[in-house]
């Protein structure tokens, strides 16, 4: 089990490094953006019509925005060490509670969309692989090319106009009931499945054609038994790795869909706080996205490790079996 512990510890350290880098980049970006931070915050707090220079200067001195940049950065890191992410410069709310709320929403949407994409992709991909150049294969290939070339915002707009505006079956935006999840999750699932169907098809086809499957059949197994017993694990190794990568991409690649559906998730939060120069909120959201990405990747690696003995058992020397 030493291999597992070394890997987990190594990956966690890596995740921490990545998170730190990303947060620092967020900090730098917010400060190099043109425009005055205090002015933008004043605008976000009170609206553009009450905006004046005096108000902005008040905010700057209240929130310590005039202090040297490095000092502000050091302060944020120091507080992070105690688990405190600070308060929003715009709403005055705790960043942690806002991230908690938004993060849950994003996670729910991500899991639903990702699961839905695989509920579709797995059966289609496997059917296409078992009958290459059959009608399922041809049709799914057409579907994949179309979906992969369609930008997700176009797909989202299409779904909104059909199911929300014309048919009035589903709500177009926001997140108040489970129905609100359907359209954004569908947009996500359609986009994801375009790639996973092809990967699943190619993987299953390759494994099904592997000689060890034929050899297993000469042992007296039926074709389907051989594919089941010797195929699933071999096929699952690349499929699971790819699925996990897709999930990781979902966790932080959400900005488009959340903005389009006005969905109160992390991506939406990141955009609005970036516009308002809400520094603690931007850094908090960046931190959560980076850590989330790292953890999902760790989970992906652990799954591969569990599935593939060639990785986990490689320390076991050949000599053991002389």
């Amino acid at each position: 089990m030493t291999y597992w512990t070394t890997m987990i510890v190594g990956r966690l350290a890596q995740t921490a490094m990545v998170a730190w880098t990303i947060v620092t980049m967020c900090f730098v970006f917010v400060h190099v953006l043109p425009g005055d931070t205090a002015l933008r915050i004043a605008e976000a707090r009170g609206g553009a019509e009450f905006l004046n220079v005096g108000r902005a200067e008040e905010i700057a001195s209240e929130e310590g925005l005039n202090r040297p940049i490095l000092l502000q950065y050091g302060e944020w890191i120091r507080r992070l060490a105690t688990g405190d992410l600070g308060v929003s410069l715009v709403s005055g709310q705790s960043v942690t509670s806002e991230l908690w709320y938004r993060g849950q929403n994003t996670l729910v949407l991500g899991i639903v969309g990702w699961l839905a994409s695989h509920l579709v992709a797995l059966p289609i991909g496997i059917c296409a692989a078992l009958r290459p150049r059959g009608w399922v294969d041809k049709l799914s290939s057409f579907y994949c090319v179309t979906m992969a070339s369609l930008p997700s915002f176009l797909m989202g707009i299409g779904l909104i106009s059909i199911f929300a505006l014309s048919l009035r079956w589903l709500p177009p935006a926001g997140f108040r009931s489970p129905e609100h999840l359907i359209l954004p999750a569908a947009t996500l699932a359609l986009g994801l499945s375009a790639f996973s169907i092809r990967l699943i098809r190619d993987t299953v086809r390759e494994v099904n054609g592997a000689f060890f499957i034929t050899f297993a059949r000469t042992k007296g197994l039926t074709a389907s038994m051989a594919l089941w017993q010797n195929g699933w694990r071999n096929a699952a190794i690349p499929i699971v790795a790819f699925a996990a990568l897709q999930f990781a991409a979902v966790v932080d690649g959400f900005i488009m869909i959340e903005t389009l559906f006005n969905f109160p998730g992390l991506g939406d939060l990141l955009v609005s706080s970036m516009l308002a120069r809400d520094v603690p909120m931007v850094m908090g959201a960046g931190l959560v996205a980076a850590v989330g990405y790292g953890l999902v990747n760790l989970a992906a690696d652990l799954t591969s490790l569990a599935l593939d003995p060639r990785i986990s058992q490689r320390d076991q020397r050949r000599a053991t079996f002389r």
């Binding site: 060890f212 034929t214 050899f215 007296g220 017993q229 694990r233 058992q313 050949r318 079996f321």
Partner: protein, 473 residues
Amino acid sequence: MTDQGIEFQLDQILDTEGIRIVGPVSLYWDTPGDACVLIGETGSGKSLVAQSILGLLPPDFHADGFLRIEGKRIALGDVTALRAQWSTTMALVPQEPFRSLDPTMRIRRQLRQVKGSDDRRIDAALSELDLSASVGKAYPFQLSGGMAQRTLFATALVSGASLIIADEPTKGLDEDRAAQSLTALNRLRAEGRSLLVITHDLDLARQLDGRTVVMKAGEAVEAGPAHELFTSPRNDYSRALLQSDPANWSAPAPRIRPPSRTVAELRDVSFGYRAGGPLFENLSFTIDAGEVVAVTGQSGIGKTTLGDVLLGLRRPTSGTVLWEGTAATKATVHRLRRKYQKLHQDPGAVFARHRTIGQHFADLADILGGESLSLRLEQLRERMKLSARLMERSIDEISGGEAQRLALMRILMLDPMLIVADEPSSRVDPIVQRDVFELLDALRDQQEVAIVLISHRTKIVSSFADKVVRLSS
């Protein structure tokens, strides 16, 4: 013929276009434990014969004939009936064990998949083949090539099959491991299993001493008990095939070479991969122009790695490699690369599938210049007796022998001083093997090319090399 006998009559195998490519071939096994051995050049249809018995021919190929086994007469066109015999009356011992075993399943579970197997039978089969019971717990990648091959024999032993078809059971194995395969085959026979062995290992065919069938271009040209066929072959092709066996190579005439210039030298060279200890330590030897230095030793001992170090493809952990007397630094390697070349083990792997052979040669224009390229190409093609038509084909459309000649020819285009030949004949049949060695021999004699021969065949090494470097652990 009694009920215990097995009879196989193949009238013909038709390919996708309905052209007859193999046949007729007839084989029989009178008593349990008999062996039939198919020998012949690559592409002579040996493997297709095996596939037709098993019902494993490529899609749209068709076989006519029948198999009579355990009192049943099965038409070779009835693939479903043939497949119903798998593991109950027939079993396959495939070549390339690592492609045949599920990489993610422990050996015991893979043996368990055999119809009618149980732990007792598996344990008996493992111990019969000198494998410890712990091998059952191993994954295939944890086994050596020879052990993996023996687990395939165990699969056949666990099954109830009375006919076992072994495809190239010694391919790519060194002499010790090939001997283990022979032992395993003989154990199967002692258990009363009849064998069909397909091989171009003539030693194996001789030692199995079964009914031996020589195949050429799809036809059985001669058949008979091995001890008769090997001593007095009647057919011209059989004679040529048997004479190409390294065992029959004439001992080299003692060659007196005038001392000549040193092409390459190793000084106290050691190498080890980061994980694990050193592969070899403090090796020193020189290679002169026109000299053949053989590197021998067991599989996995580091022969190929030594070749790579010599060619500047890997940096030694300590010590120096010298090319023409200067240290093989990056700059030297860059300057002299075309003079120091490698002939690979598998000629199929050095040409890309989707390009023609001619395109590969055209690439050399970058090094040679267009004009001298076409001139040299013509000269070498003539000398190596290769048809111009080959240039338009891809690697899948030429024979293994042609591929190895073309690979060698491509190296010769660069006018090399040293060639590292890595098992240049382990994947080709005996006739091509002799061909390759005759070419190499001519090269060293006529052009003073230095050759480093990596091989585990002692017979080849002793009849060909001037100097032997033996690696041991």
